[in-house]
Amino acid sequence: MRPTLDNTNVARRLLAVACGAIAAVALTACGGDKGEKADEPDFARLDAFPSTYIADEAAPVLIRGATVLTGTGEQLNNTDVLLKDGKISAIGEGLKAPKKGMVVEGAGKWVTPGIIDVHSHLGDYPAPSIESSQDGNEMTAPNTAQVWAEHSVWTQDPQFALALAGGVTTLQILPGSANLFGGRGVTLKNVPGRSVQDMKFPGAPYGLKMACGENPKRVYGGKGTLPSTRMGNVAGYRQAWIDATAYKEKWDRYHLNGGEEPDRDLQMETLAGVLNGDILVHNHCYRGEEMAIMMDIAEEFGFQISTFHHAVEAYKVADLLAEHNVCAAMWADWWGFKHEAFDMTEANIAIVDQAKACAMIHSDSAIGIQHLNEETAKAMVAGQRAGFHIEPRHAVTWMTLNPAKALGVDEVTGSLEKGKMADVVVWSGNPFSVYTKAEKVFIDGNLMYDRDNPERQPHSDFELGILDAEGERLPEGGER
């Protein structure tokens, strides 16, 4: 039987996370996953670099009388949203203002779940992009599944704060795409941190970055090693999965029967974590043909691909994506920078969505991540022009709930539902407008960004004393 995201360990663990705990308590503390799955070896090693993110204790927040896009397909007009103890506490009309806490007058404002970017390199390719900080891609072998993107994250990358000002509350940092297996991605809460652990999304599963197509074959073919062709790519994937299957069996046997403990292998550990459903595959893959091949490889080795990224041709195989329960992460309109990005249609996201596959916007860009609402708007309109009936209440899922699904965190964030993390954006108006800005961004119920209050606008260490020794990078009132 094909494993799906619904029946993997990931879902089990996230339920454990959701068991959770008030915001003041580190969510991993609530259960932990060792106990959950003592029946299996621990390949994911979630506890090796555990999340130390602790949301501040959040006073209640009532957003009153706003237009609410819930992320579950609804648009609620003149509606209140109550955030309490870091969670969505209630959504409705006439909610009572909390005695202590904040009231946000929502007239004319729109409210959405926090934006989630499934594909970012912030921290790994930080600004300024000088040579010594290009830490996003271990381009030394076609399989570097042993590297973890989190180990490169420079938390002081000033671009995190810019993304926050664009409404992004959760993002996955992925390794680059030069390798067949690029390594592990990490899901972060977009909060200031002294360490990457301070930013790690508690309980979120790891991702494994894989790459199809031009990049691996160019990088390694150029060095005279496999792969130099797309068929070489596929041979590389399959051999690795054969090895990983053997590795997993060895550990499973040891776990069941005891005996001599096998040697650990970091590369195999990550792949075995995919095979047992703990680690989610995020596959850079432009072409329809290659997506179809990759889904067959997943079938052959019994794992599930979470999401095809940069899926410029997802529309060509949208029905297959739906059938295989694989998401596609896409741009609104980028194209032509390489051959596999030549067959772009602006209706890509809409066509994938209409075929009932899980569709989403993604950025892969420090600029794009600040404007995902605009990018979603363009994709929505392209869908409408194609003749599909797509409204904002649905399109909003392309930047919220669907990326949450892709990251395996949809049980706990990605929509405005009672009990979910209070990751919420208050917009100055309809978010699908170029003129609209994220005014207030809440993460776990805390006001992490307030456009009206410079005191609640984070800036990284890098920004202090830059351009002005006594001031900040941009003078007060400067719009970032």
């Binding site: 000033p158 249609t345 209706a347 400067g478």
Partner: protein, 428 residues
């Protein structure tokens, strides 16, 4: 021919494909919001009459006047066509496929003399796609990976016709700042010195042309081709587009421009706002990426979203190009950049001007405004032209409605409902 068609919202896009529309000699858009960018300002509801490729009249109500084609513009907005100020349209097809790129050369003997105009391909797929995005004209600029002098730029209209180059030898492109320093051997000082000495030697060459050609002169550092190519800069006929982002780099360029009497345009200008008063005083315009707000280099630490607004406020002529992350393929996204600039304080009309009238005036091109007698390059937008949810319903170049079909729409229509089987191979 006397075909009167009152287009409806939905039918307009397909109408634009119809033969009678393409052959219409006169065109009347009625009751649209008209952003003229002339002394006429913006008409809340107005008519635009186009005849024989020119704009005949713009008025609040042209009354009983009729035309071969009449379009109902109610609820829609007419602007001049977008002019892409810094593109490689027609010089590139696929970024990473070297064989499809003609914008740069790896030949050390060619610098300022390089002119890629003969490589221009009007049948590039980028042209119909950007045209559908509302781009009617573009400045095409070479690039360089070896020398700070990239060569000469030209201008095109996006008709896709073989004779669509409108202005050859339009400008010189030079790199200063971080990239210029890298190309010049490691320091801005060297890049500056190279530019200054090239200009000085171009002058020397002009004054002693015959002796130099006879070989009766000291050996110069630049080829005769390069020095010839720099002559129109010295006479102030041709603008020179020089990349610089850091405030201090921009000031150095202003000094250079003063010394050689250059018609300077600064490209990049991420920290332009810090020296906006000096730019304004020197009447030097800028071509910026209005969405480029990350401090992605040490030369652009001051990058910010209200750069355009601050520059404009100081009196600088601002031209907005496509976002740097998207490249020539998405040149039309300059309007999203302009929309963001407006969101961060640039007045709306200035936002439209920054992608139309300003590039026209800065580079000396036709179009850019809706002025009687002027070339009829215009776009009818479904709504606010700077909004991400609006789109071009009608694109007119030289008075002729253009096709809005392109590979993106063709692929969309082929795969609207993807399914198994061989059928897609027979879809048009």
């Amino acid at each position: 021919m006397n075909i009167k068609q009152l287009a409806t919202i939905g039918a307009l896009a397909s109408l634009a494909m119809a033969a009678p529309l393409a052959l219409a000699q006169s065109l009347l858009i009625k009751d649209a919001r008209v952003v003229t960018l002339t002394d006429q300002g913006t008409l809340t509801m107005g008519d635009v009459l186009v005849k024989d490729g020119r704009i005949e009249q713009v008025a609040e109500d042209l009354g009983g006047i009729t035309a071969d084609l009449v379009i109902d513009g109610r609820g829609k907005v007419v602007t001049p066509g977008i002019i892409a100020p810094h593109s490689e349209l027609g010089l590139t097809e696929i970024g990473a496929a070297a064989s499809t790129n003609d914008s740069a050369v790896q030949d050390v003997s060619i610098g300022a003399g390089f002119n890629p105009v003969v490589a221009f391909n009007p049948r590039s797929t980028l042209i119909p796609f950007n045209r559908a995005g509302g781009v009617t004209r573009a400045v095409v600029v070479p690039s360089s990976e070896e020398k700070i002098f990239a060569g000469q730029g030209f201008a095109i209209k996006l008709t896709g016709d073989f004779d669509s180059v409108t202005d050859d030898g339009l400008l010189q492109k030079i790199y200063f700042g971080e990239y210029g320093a890298e190309l010049a051997g490691g320091s801005r000082a060297r890049a500056y010195e190279q530019i200054a000495s090239a200009l000085a030697q171009a002058k020397e060459y002009a004054d002693n042309r015959d002796a130099i050609r006879r070989g009766e002169w000291r050996e110069l550092d630049f080829s005769v081709d390069d020095l010839e190519a720099l002559q129109p800069l010295l006479s102030g006929e041709q603008p020179v587009l020089i990349r610089a982002n850091r405030a201090s780099d921009i000031l150095q360029l202003l000094a250079l421009a003063k010394e050689f009497n250059l018609k300077l345009i600064v490209e990049g200008a991420a920290e332009g706002w810090m020296v906006a008063a000096q730019l304004a005083a020197a009447r030097v315009p800028v071509v910026i990426d209005a969405m480029g707000n990350t401090p992605d280099a040490f030369e652009s630490l001051g990058a910010r979203l209200d750069n355009a607004a601050l520059l404009h406020k100081a009196g600088v002529t601002v031209v907005i190009g496509g976002p740097g992350y998207a490249g020539s393929h998405n040149s039309y996204l300059s309007r999203q950049g302009a929309g963001n600039a407006v969101a961060y304080g640039l007045p709306f009309e200035e936002g439209v001007r920054a992608i139309t009238a300003n590039p026209a005036s800065v580079f000396g091109l036709e179009g850019g405004v809706l002025a009687p007698g002027g070339v009829a390059d215009l776009v009818l937008w479904s709504s606010d032209p700077l909004e991400v949810t609006s789109f071009a319903e009608l694109v007119v170049i030289d008075g002729k409605p253009q096709s809005l079909e392109n590979r993106s729409t063709r692929l969309r229509d082929r795969y609207l409902h993807p399914k198994a089987g061989t059928g897609h191979g027979y879809e048009k």
